[in-house]
Symmetry: C2
Subunit: 152 residues, 2 copies
Amino acid sequence: MTHSHSETVHSPDEMTQRAYELLKESGFKLTKKRRELIDIFSNDQRYFKATEIHERLSADRPTMSYNTTYRNLYDFAEIGILEMTEYNQEQMFKVSCFPNTHHHHFICTQCGKVIPIHACPMDQVESDLSGAEIQSHRFEVFGLCPQCAQAG
Amino acid sequence: MTHSHSETVHSPDEMTQRAYELLKESGFKLTKKRRELIDIFSNDQRYFKATEIHERLSADRPTMSYNTTYRNLYDFAEIGILEMTEYNQEQMFKVSCFPNTHHHHFICTQCGKVIPIHACPMDQVESDLSGAEIQSHRFEVFGLCPQCAQAG
DNA sequence: CTCTTTGCAAAACATTTGCATGCCT
DNA sequence: AGGCATGCAAATGTTTTGCAAAGAG
Protein backbone atom coordinates (compact mmCIF):
# COMPACT_ATOMS: atom_id res chain seq x y z
CA MET A 1 0.00 0.00 0.00
CA THR A 2 1.59 3.23 -1.11
CA HIS A 3 0.20 6.59 -0.22
CA SER A 4 -0.03 8.27 -3.59
CA HIS A 5 -1.91 11.56 -3.66
CA SER A 6 -1.87 11.61 0.11
CA GLU A 7 -2.44 15.35 0.03
CA THR A 8 -6.18 14.87 -0.39
CA VAL A 9 -6.75 11.50 1.21
CA HIS A 10 -7.71 11.99 4.81
CA SER A 11 -8.22 9.37 7.46
CA PRO A 12 -11.66 7.80 7.71
CA ASP A 13 -11.98 9.36 11.16
CA GLU A 14 -11.32 12.85 9.88
CA MET A 15 -13.89 12.44 7.13
CA THR A 16 -16.44 10.96 9.48
CA GLN A 17 -16.05 13.74 12.01
CA ARG A 18 -16.36 16.36 9.30
CA ALA A 19 -19.54 14.71 8.01
CA TYR A 20 -21.05 14.61 11.51
CA GLU A 21 -20.32 18.31 11.95
CA LEU A 22 -22.00 19.15 8.67
CA LEU A 23 -25.06 17.12 9.59
CA LYS A 24 -25.36 18.91 12.89
CA GLU A 25 -24.80 22.35 11.41
CA SER A 26 -27.57 21.70 8.93
CA GLY A 27 -30.02 20.45 11.52
CA PHE A 28 -30.02 16.81 10.48
CA LYS A 29 -30.09 14.02 12.98
CA LEU A 30 -27.32 11.50 13.28
CA THR A 31 -28.95 8.13 12.83
CA LYS A 32 -27.50 4.65 12.69
CA LYS A 33 -28.27 4.40 8.96
CA ARG A 34 -26.58 7.68 8.26
CA ARG A 35 -23.53 6.55 10.18
CA GLU A 36 -23.35 3.43 8.03
CA LEU A 37 -23.70 5.53 4.92
CA ILE A 38 -20.97 7.91 6.01
CA ASP A 39 -18.72 4.97 6.93
CA ILE A 40 -18.79 3.65 3.38
CA PHE A 41 -17.78 6.98 1.92
CA SER A 42 -15.16 7.75 4.56
CA ASN A 43 -13.44 4.40 4.15
CA ASP A 44 -13.30 4.55 0.37
CA GLN A 45 -12.92 8.08 -0.89
CA ARG A 46 -13.95 7.49 -4.47
CA TYR A 47 -17.09 7.81 -6.58
CA PHE A 48 -19.90 5.30 -6.09
CA LYS A 49 -23.17 4.71 -7.90
CA ALA A 50 -26.32 5.06 -5.83
CA THR A 51 -27.12 1.40 -6.49
CA GLU A 52 -23.65 0.36 -5.35
CA ILE A 53 -24.20 2.18 -2.08
CA HIS A 54 -27.57 0.60 -1.63
CA GLU A 55 -26.15 -2.88 -2.24
CA ARG A 56 -23.40 -2.34 0.31
CA LEU A 57 -25.85 -1.19 2.91
CA SER A 58 -27.97 -4.24 2.27
CA ALA A 59 -25.11 -6.72 2.29
CA ASP A 60 -24.95 -7.84 5.92
CA ARG A 61 -27.17 -5.50 7.86
CA PRO A 62 -30.86 -4.91 7.51
CA THR A 63 -31.44 -3.09 4.24
CA MET A 64 -31.65 0.65 4.01
CA SER A 65 -34.57 1.18 1.71
CA TYR A 66 -34.01 2.75 -1.71
CA ASN A 67 -35.88 5.91 -0.92
CA THR A 68 -33.97 6.48 2.28
CA THR A 69 -30.72 5.87 0.44
CA TYR A 70 -31.62 8.37 -2.27
CA ARG A 71 -32.96 10.91 0.17
CA ASN A 72 -29.77 10.78 2.15
CA LEU A 73 -27.45 10.83 -0.84
CA TYR A 74 -29.10 13.93 -2.27
CA ASP A 75 -29.43 15.60 1.13
CA PHE A 76 -25.78 14.89 1.86
CA ALA A 77 -24.78 16.35 -1.47
CA GLU A 78 -26.77 19.46 -0.71
CA ILE A 79 -25.17 20.10 2.66
CA GLY A 80 -21.68 19.40 1.35
CA ILE A 81 -20.95 15.99 2.82
CA LEU A 82 -20.89 14.48 -0.65
CA GLU A 83 -19.81 15.61 -4.08
CA MET A 84 -22.04 14.54 -6.91
CA THR A 85 -21.33 14.20 -10.58
CA GLU A 86 -22.52 12.26 -13.55
CA TYR A 87 -20.66 10.02 -15.97
CA ASN A 88 -21.25 6.76 -17.82
CA GLN A 89 -24.89 7.83 -17.79
CA GLU A 90 -25.00 7.50 -14.01
CA GLN A 91 -25.23 9.79 -11.04
CA MET A 92 -22.11 9.28 -8.91
CA PHE A 93 -21.34 10.23 -5.30
CA LYS A 94 -18.13 10.73 -3.36
CA VAL A 95 -17.26 12.16 0.02
CA SER A 96 -16.31 15.81 -0.34
CA CYS A 97 -12.67 16.70 -0.42
CA PHE A 98 -11.41 18.14 2.79
CA PRO A 99 -10.09 20.71 3.37
CA ASN A 100 -12.34 22.19 0.77
CA THR A 101 -9.92 24.27 -1.27
CA HIS A 102 -11.06 24.81 -4.81
CA HIS A 103 -9.80 22.19 -7.19
CA HIS A 104 -10.89 19.72 -9.87
CA HIS A 105 -10.58 16.03 -10.50
CA PHE A 106 -9.37 13.38 -12.78
CA ILE A 107 -11.90 10.58 -12.35
CA CYS A 108 -11.28 6.94 -13.19
CA THR A 109 -14.26 5.76 -15.19
CA GLN A 110 -13.60 2.21 -14.09
CA CYS A 111 -13.04 2.34 -10.34
CA GLY A 112 -14.21 5.85 -9.45
CA LYS A 113 -10.92 6.90 -7.88
CA VAL A 114 -9.96 10.54 -8.26
CA ILE A 115 -6.70 12.41 -8.70
CA PRO A 116 -6.72 16.11 -7.84
CA ILE A 117 -5.96 18.66 -10.52
CA HIS A 118 -4.69 21.96 -9.28
CA ALA A 119 -5.11 24.05 -12.39
CA CYS A 120 -8.38 25.90 -12.68
CA PRO A 121 -9.39 27.27 -16.05
CA MET A 122 -11.67 29.96 -14.72
CA ASP A 123 -9.06 32.67 -14.48
CA GLN A 124 -8.70 32.57 -18.26
CA VAL A 125 -12.33 32.74 -19.26
CA GLU A 126 -13.75 35.95 -17.88
CA SER A 127 -12.87 37.91 -21.01
CA ASP A 128 -15.10 35.71 -23.18
CA LEU A 129 -18.07 36.15 -20.87
CA SER A 130 -18.68 39.81 -20.27
CA GLY A 131 -22.30 40.49 -19.47
CA ALA A 132 -22.98 36.93 -18.39
CA GLU A 133 -23.66 36.03 -14.77
CA ILE A 134 -21.51 33.05 -13.88
CA GLN A 135 -23.09 30.64 -11.43
CA SER A 136 -20.84 27.59 -11.46
CA HIS A 137 -18.38 25.63 -13.48
CA ARG A 138 -17.37 22.06 -13.99
CA PHE A 139 -14.01 20.77 -15.06
CA GLU A 140 -13.43 17.06 -15.01
CA VAL A 141 -11.00 14.77 -16.76
CA PHE A 142 -12.02 11.16 -17.32
CA GLY A 143 -9.93 8.11 -18.03
CA LEU A 144 -8.24 5.16 -16.39
CA CYS A 145 -6.20 5.66 -13.26
CA PRO A 146 -2.66 4.25 -13.28
CA GLN A 147 -3.81 1.05 -11.55
CA CYS A 148 -6.73 0.39 -13.88
CA ALA A 149 -4.66 1.32 -16.94
CA GLN A 150 -2.06 -1.29 -16.00
CA ALA A 151 -4.63 -3.95 -15.21
CA GLY A 152 -6.50 -3.39 -18.47
CA MET B 1 -31.17 41.39 -33.82
CA THR B 2 -27.43 41.70 -33.31
CA HIS B 3 -25.01 39.02 -34.32
CA SER B 4 -23.07 38.47 -31.15
CA HIS B 5 -20.71 35.51 -31.15
CA SER B 6 -21.22 35.14 -34.85
CA GLU B 7 -17.99 33.18 -35.08
CA THR B 8 -19.76 29.98 -34.07
CA VAL B 9 -23.28 30.60 -35.24
CA HIS B 10 -23.71 29.18 -38.70
CA SER B 11 -26.67 29.44 -40.99
CA PRO B 12 -29.41 26.86 -40.58
CA ASP B 13 -28.58 25.63 -44.07
CA GLU B 14 -24.95 25.03 -43.22
CA MET B 15 -25.90 23.08 -40.12
CA THR B 16 -28.52 21.09 -41.95
CA GLN B 17 -26.17 20.13 -44.75
CA ARG B 18 -23.51 19.12 -42.28
CA ALA B 19 -26.01 16.95 -40.41
CA TYR B 20 -27.14 15.26 -43.63
CA GLU B 21 -23.54 14.47 -44.51
CA LEU B 22 -22.92 12.93 -41.11
CA LEU B 23 -26.06 10.80 -41.40
CA LYS B 24 -25.00 9.51 -44.77
CA GLU B 25 -21.40 8.85 -43.69
CA SER B 26 -22.67 6.81 -40.80
CA GLY B 27 -25.09 4.76 -42.89
CA PHE B 28 -28.28 6.26 -41.50
CA LYS B 29 -31.22 7.02 -43.72
CA LEU B 30 -32.56 10.50 -44.21
CA THR B 31 -36.20 10.32 -43.25
CA LYS B 32 -38.83 12.99 -42.96
CA LYS B 33 -38.85 12.74 -39.18
CA ARG B 34 -35.11 13.11 -39.02
CA ARG B 35 -35.28 16.16 -41.22
CA GLU B 36 -37.78 17.75 -38.84
CA LEU B 37 -35.54 16.92 -35.91
CA ILE B 38 -32.51 18.43 -37.60
CA ASP B 39 -34.51 21.52 -38.54
CA ILE B 40 -35.27 22.30 -34.93
CA PHE B 41 -31.63 22.12 -33.93
CA SER B 42 -30.32 23.97 -36.98
CA ASN B 43 -32.71 26.86 -36.51
CA ASP B 44 -31.98 27.31 -32.83
CA GLN B 45 -28.42 26.44 -31.95
CA ARG B 46 -28.83 26.06 -28.22
CA TYR B 47 -29.41 23.26 -25.74
CA PHE B 48 -32.82 21.57 -25.58
CA LYS B 49 -34.31 18.98 -23.27
CA ALA B 50 -35.44 15.73 -24.90
CA THR B 51 -39.00 16.46 -23.79
CA GLU B 52 -38.84 19.94 -25.30
CA ILE B 53 -37.83 18.41 -28.62
CA HIS B 54 -40.58 15.89 -28.44
CA GLU B 55 -43.17 18.55 -27.72
CA ARG B 56 -42.02 20.63 -30.67
CA LEU B 57 -42.22 17.69 -33.00
CA SER B 58 -45.72 16.95 -31.77
CA ALA B 59 -46.97 20.51 -31.97
CA ASP B 60 -48.43 20.73 -35.46
CA ARG B 61 -47.38 17.58 -37.26
CA PRO B 62 -48.17 14.01 -36.40
CA THR B 63 -46.20 13.12 -33.28
CA MET B 64 -42.84 11.52 -33.42
CA SER B 65 -43.09 8.83 -30.78
CA TYR B 66 -40.96 9.09 -27.67
CA ASN B 67 -38.85 6.11 -28.45
CA THR B 68 -38.07 7.34 -31.94
CA THR B 69 -37.20 10.74 -30.53
CA TYR B 70 -34.85 9.25 -27.96
CA ARG B 71 -33.35 6.79 -30.41
CA ASN B 72 -32.57 9.60 -32.81
CA LEU B 73 -31.26 12.00 -30.20
CA TYR B 74 -28.82 9.45 -28.85
CA ASP B 75 -27.88 8.19 -32.30
CA PHE B 76 -27.29 11.75 -33.48
CA ALA B 77 -25.12 12.44 -30.47
CA GLU B 78 -23.08 9.35 -31.21
CA ILE B 79 -22.39 10.26 -34.82
CA GLY B 80 -21.58 13.86 -33.99
CA ILE B 81 -24.66 15.69 -35.22
CA LEU B 82 -25.52 16.63 -31.67
CA GLU B 83 -23.60 17.53 -28.54
CA MET B 84 -25.02 16.18 -25.35
CA THR B 85 -24.53 17.29 -21.78
CA GLU B 86 -26.33 17.23 -18.50
CA TYR B 87 -27.35 20.03 -16.17
CA ASN B 88 -30.28 20.92 -13.94
CA GLN B 89 -30.64 17.15 -13.55
CA GLU B 90 -31.52 16.82 -17.23
CA GLN B 91 -29.95 15.44 -20.35
CA MET B 92 -29.58 18.28 -22.86
CA PHE B 93 -28.96 18.29 -26.61
CA LYS B 94 -27.59 20.87 -29.03
CA VAL B 95 -26.42 20.79 -32.62
CA SER B 96 -22.66 20.30 -32.75
CA CYS B 97 -20.49 23.31 -33.28
CA PHE B 98 -19.17 23.62 -36.76
CA PRO B 99 -16.41 23.81 -37.75
CA ASN B 100 -15.52 21.41 -35.03
CA THR B 101 -12.41 23.00 -33.57
CA HIS B 102 -11.82 22.09 -29.96
CA HIS B 103 -13.44 24.49 -27.55
CA HIS B 104 -15.71 24.69 -24.53
CA HIS B 105 -18.91 26.46 -23.57
CA PHE B 106 -20.56 28.81 -21.26
CA ILE B 107 -24.13 27.52 -21.06
CA CYS B 108 -27.11 29.58 -19.99
CA THR B 109 -29.02 27.49 -17.46
CA GLN B 110 -32.19 29.35 -18.31
CA CYS B 111 -32.39 29.45 -22.10
CA GLY B 112 -29.74 26.93 -23.16
CA LYS B 113 -27.77 29.39 -25.26
CA VAL B 114 -24.03 28.93 -25.37
CA ILE B 115 -21.04 31.24 -25.57
CA PRO B 116 -17.78 29.72 -26.77
CA ILE B 117 -14.78 29.69 -24.48
CA HIS B 118 -11.45 29.46 -26.18
CA ALA B 119 -9.24 28.56 -23.26
CA CYS B 120 -8.72 24.85 -22.70
CA PRO B 121 -7.35 23.76 -19.36
CA MET B 122 -5.95 20.47 -20.60
CA ASP B 123 -2.52 21.78 -21.43
CA GLN B 124 -1.93 22.51 -17.75
CA VAL B 125 -3.01 19.21 -16.28
CA GLU B 126 -0.79 16.54 -17.76
CA SER B 127 1.77 16.88 -15.00
CA ASP B 128 -0.74 15.89 -12.33
CA LEU B 129 -1.77 12.78 -14.22
CA SER B 130 1.28 10.75 -15.08
CA GLY B 131 0.43 7.08 -15.44
CA ALA B 132 -3.24 7.75 -16.06
CA GLU B 133 -4.84 7.13 -19.42
CA ILE B 134 -6.89 10.18 -20.33
CA GLN B 135 -10.06 9.43 -22.29
CA SER B 136 -11.99 12.67 -22.28
CA HIS B 137 -12.60 15.88 -20.44
CA ARG B 138 -15.42 18.23 -19.74
CA PHE B 139 -15.19 21.90 -19.04
CA GLU B 140 -18.39 23.88 -18.82
CA VAL B 141 -19.33 27.17 -17.24
CA PHE B 142 -22.93 27.68 -16.20
CA GLY B 143 -24.86 30.83 -15.51
CA LEU B 144 -27.16 33.36 -17.09
CA CYS B 145 -26.38 34.74 -20.51
CA PRO B 146 -26.37 38.53 -20.89
CA GLN B 147 -29.97 38.55 -22.13
CA CYS B 148 -31.34 36.35 -19.34
CA ALA B 149 -29.27 38.18 -16.72
CA GLN B 150 -30.84 41.49 -17.78
CA ALA B 151 -34.35 40.08 -17.93
CA GLY B 152 -34.06 38.49 -14.50
C1' DC C 1 -42.16 14.47 24.08
C1' DT C 2 -41.67 16.36 19.63
C1' DC C 3 -40.00 16.35 15.24
C1' DT C 4 -37.21 14.03 12.01
C1' DT C 5 -36.22 9.79 9.78
C1' DT C 6 -37.41 5.51 7.97
C1' DG C 7 -39.94 1.78 5.40
C1' DC C 8 -43.30 0.39 2.43
C1' DA C 9 -45.79 0.70 -1.59
C1' DA C 10 -47.02 3.03 -5.33
C1' DA C 11 -46.51 6.90 -8.49
C1' DA C 12 -43.89 9.53 -11.64
C1' DC C 13 -40.59 10.01 -14.97
C1' DA C 14 -37.07 8.99 -18.32
C1' DT C 15 -35.29 5.65 -21.22
C1' DT C 16 -35.09 1.03 -23.57
C1' DT C 17 -36.70 -3.11 -25.94
C1' DG C 18 -39.37 -6.42 -29.02
C1' DC C 19 -41.90 -6.88 -32.72
C1' DA C 20 -44.87 -5.90 -36.60
C1' DT C 21 -45.65 -2.35 -40.16
C1' DG C 22 -43.94 1.32 -43.15
C1' DC C 23 -40.68 3.98 -45.73
C1' DC C 24 -36.04 5.29 -47.83
C1' DT C 25 -32.63 4.00 -51.31
C1' DA D 1 -36.88 -5.76 -53.03
C1' DG D 2 -34.34 -5.27 -48.92
C1' DG D 3 -33.17 -3.27 -44.85
C1' DC D 4 -33.33 0.41 -41.78
C1' DA D 5 -36.89 3.41 -39.35
C1' DT D 6 -40.97 3.95 -36.90
C1' DG D 7 -44.97 3.24 -33.70
C1' DC D 8 -47.03 0.89 -30.18
C1' DA D 9 -47.02 -1.11 -25.92
C1' DA D 10 -44.82 -2.86 -22.34
C1' DA D 11 -40.58 -3.46 -19.62
C1' DT D 12 -36.87 -1.31 -17.14
C1' DG D 13 -34.57 1.61 -14.10
C1' DT D 14 -34.22 5.56 -11.29
C1' DT D 15 -35.97 8.88 -8.39
C1' DT D 16 -40.04 10.86 -5.83
C1' DT D 17 -44.11 11.01 -2.87
C1' DG D 18 -47.60 10.01 0.91
C1' DC D 19 -48.36 8.17 4.99
C1' DA D 20 -47.89 5.50 9.24
C1' DA D 21 -44.51 3.69 12.50
C1' DA D 22 -39.93 4.00 14.78
C1' DG D 23 -36.04 6.53 16.56
C1' DA D 24 -33.07 10.66 17.93
C1' DG D 25 -32.38 14.76 20.77
